[in-house]
């Protein structure tokens, strides 16, 4: 029978320990986990990007529910262990579950330190520790009011940046004279303060908080010097202390943390402790790299390797605030026996300092440019004698040994044991070895097999360079395919950052997201224009020059440079007057080709660009508006004749199709959207290969989506059945809005749906009424600005330069 292993706590350290244990001793233990938080194991390092809106919770999950099931692990979510009975070898949760163990692992982490000033327990005072804190902060941020963050260390600054990104007016209070004084020297601390202030965050140093006051909730923060700062939210981020109360109560040796030996074993031989709650050789740890090392040691011990031992190591610190590059490592205090090398480039905002002792690096602070961090770390770790390269050392690895190296060559030059991923302690050789041995081809594969770049992600660029070096041109960084060659960001990141940073113009996006070209290219500009139109319907001024010609002149360019024109025929219904008007236009402008389209309307082809405004003027007289046959937007709603005429029709499919089209025309979407409504399951309108389709049945309306009948052929998926036409409209509109907000430019609905997952879309549109209503409302709001007929605008003179030559020269009569 397998031994019973019980784990208290489900953070990153025990999660990692289990991964090692499952690999080293599969089946040896029956594992039960008690997690006081009601959720699975997620990446706490990434809470700051969640707070700033750059990532979603789903993206930072390390082990989803499926992982626990697949590995036969019992996870009690929301169960806090209240007692350990060492004699009976059981633990008991606050919900009354008692579980026996053979081996127990305590991984209770840490608790945030709360300064015991008056008012510290008022509603509105939060800490920054887990997802609940982040969600509470995001909720508070919706008021866009004032926030105070107490603590100018790593966590405090990340919290401040996140709240600032959420639109709050943030003040950081720091008791020391400079920010992050434990990791940065005063010069770098000053640069950091300036960068933080440039983002609109106020910083008060030497700030001694005396009280938090308010009427039943937080109203202001009072400092010892009498300063009063109004605030509705106070975040305390002044430090953490090991959470060892449970162990202490069970009589296990506790000092600052739970005292363990180098094998992570407490004074009870069947009980281990790891993570932030553990104290090894008098030290407690808070950064992920040593915690993961503890996980490795504990797993080896549990698997039977009594020699596995934890060894102290220095860990580099990085700040996870987008746009601030900061790296700090080791000891950088001044001393008689120490020398320093400093590089300052004020214009570029760069500061680098190396602290040397006996010709060896013992400390490094890099600000503004951190690419050489890995190399300095390597030199320090190996105690390399740097006297030979002392003069150029500060310029980094690329200046050593002659000509500057390109970044790729610099990575190639790193030794095999150079650390690439600081969080997970993965060296270069392990990554390149795994790529070769296991045939890895994607970044996700490398993350899965080596853990490199799987935590904070700041080494992703290095890992990708290693993949290129190892795989050559066969490496296709599909994990994040950049939008275009102007950026390294993918569509999803760009969309997220547009929202997170409230970017509302194309130049703002290019500036803030560090575009490498001055004005983009023909790939990214139309995409950015769409994203901004979609996200800021009321604020954004459409950038005409970033639209493809068809959307600029509201007609379809043909191979000979002429255009085709398709007026809207609502639901494919027309009449004699309309047909007569079309016939007259065809005669008057000698239009060479008239064709009925697959979307049930009439296409006039071969119209000269100069004639377009006059053609539209005549069509407009007859009541026609643009059919948007050229648009990444709503095209047609195809219908059958339905219950008005057809002996099989169950509902008024024609009327409903017209209603949808009149409701949704003019909306811009990531790619074209074609719809159809069929009056019965015989499906004469071919609704089951459309982007969105409706099949009417006796009991209501069956909504379909994600079909394709172009490059790919694909039948639709069923979204669900609703009873009334009003409900059907609401569902269809909400679905379209969800697609508008999430789709990548030029990504059709069926591809978007495949990426997001049909069940997730059903959950949001069919099951979550609030979500559906919110999508619906946002679509309706955006239509206020979108439903303008582009043809009549241009008949009235808009963009008239577009349709006339600038000059005519060289002709005999013009030369007169």
């Amino acid at each position: 029978m397998s031994e019973r292993l019980v784990i208290i706590g489900n953070g990153m350290a025990p999660g990692r320990m289990l991964e090692h244990l499952l690999e080293q001793a599969p089946g040896r233990y029956t594992v039960t986990i008690f997690n006081a938080e009601p959720r699975v194991n997620y990446d706490r390092i990434m809470l700051s990007p969640v707070l700033s809106g750059e990532k979603a919770y789903e993206e930072i999950i390390i082990h989803g529910d499926g992982w626990y099931i697949a590995n036969n692990i019992t996870l009690y979510k929301g169960h806090k262990i209240v007692a350990i009975d060492r004699a009976a070898k059981t633990v008991t949760s606050d919900h009354g579950v008692t579980e026996p163990y053979d081996k127990l692992v305590i991984a209770t982490g840490s608790v945030p330190f709360i300064i015991p000033v008056p008012g510290h327990d008022l509603p509105g005072v939060l800490t920054y520790r887990d997802l609940d804190d982040v969600q509470a902060m995001m909720l508070a941020a919706q008021s866009r009011a004032k926030a105070v963050v107490i603590g100018g260390g790593l966590l405090g600054l990340e919290a401040a940046a996140g709240l600032n990104a959420q639109g709050m007016d943030v003040t950081v209070l720091h008791v020391m004279p400079t920010l992050m004084e434990r990791q940065l020297d005063p010069a770098a601390g000053y640069l950091l303060q300036r960068a933080v202030e440039q983002r609109g965050i106020k910083v008060i140093t030497k700030a001694n908080t005396q009280a938090i006051t308010g009427n039943g909730k937080v109203g202001q923060v009072e400092l010892a010097d009498g300063t009063i700062i109004p605030a509705t939210l106070v975040v305390m981020a002044v430090g953490i202390r090991p959470n060892s109360a449970l162990a202490k109560q069970a009589g296990i040796a506790v000092n600052r943390g739970i005292v363990v030996d180098a094998g992570m074993r407490s004074n009870d031989p069947d009980i281990y402790a790891l993570g932030e709650c553990a104290e090894v050789n008098g030290q407690v740890y808070g950064l992920v790299a040593p915690l993961y090392e503890m996980a490795r040691v504990t797993a080896s011990q549990l698997a039977g390797d009594a020699a596995a031992a934890f060894v102290h190591m220095d860990t580099p610190t990085k700040l996870k605030v987008t746009g601030i590059e900061l790296f700090s490592l080791g000891d950088f205090a001044e001393g008689e026996d120490r020398q320093e090398i400093v590089l300052r480039d004020a214009a570029a905002g760069v500061y680098k300092r190396l602290v040397l002792k006996d010709d060896r690096i013992i400390g490094t602070v890099l600000y503004g440019e951190t690419a050489d961090g890995a190399w300095f770390n390597d030199l320090k770790k190996k105690q390399t004698d740097i006297s030979e390269m002392r003069d150029t050392l500060i310029f980094g690895q690329s200046y050593q040994g002659g000509a500057p190296l390109d970044p790729m060559a610099a990575v190639a030059a790193l030794p095999d044991d150079a650390e690439i991923c600081g969080c997970n302690g993965v060296c270069k050789g392990k990554i390149t070895g795994a790529i070769t041995a296991k045939g890895l081809t994607s970044l996700d594969d490398v993350r899965a097999h080596t853990k490199a770049s799987a935590s904070c992600g700041s080494c992703t660029g290095l890992v990708e360079k290693l993949m290129v070096l190892t795989l050559g041109d066969t490496y296709n960084p599909a994990a994040v395919q950049p939008m275009c060659s102007c950026t390294t960001l993918g569509h999803d990141e760009v969309r997220r950052l547009i929202k997170a940073k409230s970017l509302k113009t194309i130049p703002a996006v290019m500036q803030e997201l560090e575009w490498t070209t001055s004005c983009g290219c023909a790939k990214c500009r139309p995409a950015l224009n769409y994203y901004l139109v979609c996200d800021w319907p009321d604020d954004y001024a459409d950038d005409y020059q970033s639209r493809f010609i068809n959307e600029r002149v509201h007609a379809n360019i043909q191979k000979d440079g002429t255009y085709s024109v398709v007026p809207r025929m609502w639901g494919g219904v027309t009449n004699a007057a309309e047909l007569r008007a079309i016939a007259d236009v065809v005669d008057k402008f000698e239009i060479p080709m008239v064709k009925v389209t697959g979307g049930q309307r009439i296409d006039m082809l071969g119209i000269r660009k100069e004639d377009l405004p006059a053609v539209w003027a005549d069509l407009g007289q007859a009541g026609f508006v643009s059919g948007h046959a050229y648009a990444k937007g709503l095209r047609t709603v195809k219908t059958c004749v339905g219950s008005d005429w057809c002996r099989f029709g169950t509902q008024d499919s024609t009327g409903f199709g017209v209603r949808i089209e009149k409701f949704m025309w003019g909306s811009w979407t990531p790619a074209k959207v074609k719809m159809a409504v069929s009056g019965c399951p015989r499906n004469c309108a071919e609704a089951t290969c459309k982007d969105v389709g409706v099949i009417c049945v006796d009991s209501g309306y069956e909504i379909h989506f994600a079909g394709a009948a172009g490059l790919d052929i694909k039948g639709t998926e069923v979204l669900g059945l609703v009873r009334t036409e009003d409900e059907a409209l609401e569902h269809i509109v909400a679905l379209t809005q969800m697609y508008r907000e999430q789709g990548r430019y030029l990504e059709r609905i069926y591809k978007w749906a495949k990426r997001i997952g049909i069940p997730e879309i059903k959950r949001q549109i069919m099951d979550d009424g609030d979500k559906r209503k919110a999508y619906y409302d946002r679509f309706v709001f955006s239509q206020k600005f979108a439903q303008v007929d582009p043809w009549s605008e241009r008949v009235s003179g808009k963009d008239k330069h577009e349709f006339r030559p600038m000059a005519s020269v060289g002709f005999a009569q013009a030369a007169e």
Partner: protein
């Protein structure tokens, strides 16, 4: 060299183009984001697409028909494509724009 006035720089939108009609076909006159002005034949070397209708980015235009990217400075196709279009000298005097039309001048005369 025969310099012909074709209008004012403000007639052309930034990151846009206008056409000048000539007996030999259209000439596309481009204005970049930083107010550089270029003139090339309005005829993509690939399949003859009207380059004046393309998206202008930097000193290049992407043809609206098949996305060839043409350098406005050299008239040459950029990237993997090969081909070139005729460039026409442009002079900017204050606001006024002139293009040089040698061949046309002789024909008109």
């Amino acid at each position: 060299m025969n310099w012909v006035a074709i209008g004012s720089i403000s007639d052309i939108p930034r990151r846009g183009a206008r056409c000048v009609a000539t007996p030999e076909g259209k000439i596309a006159v481009f204005r970049t984001l930083d107010d550089q002005v270029y003139a090339i034949d309005d005829h993509c070397p690939h399949r003859g697409g009207p380059l004046s209708q393309g998206i202008v980015h930097g000193a290049a235009v992407t043809c609206p028909l098949h996305n060839w990217v043409i350098s406005l400075e050299t008239g040459k196709a950029l990237g993997a494509d090969e081909g070139a279009v005729r460039t026409i000298p442009v002079r900017v005097e204050g606001e006024r724009l002139f293009i040089a039309l040698e061949a046309l001048a002789s024909r008109a005369a």
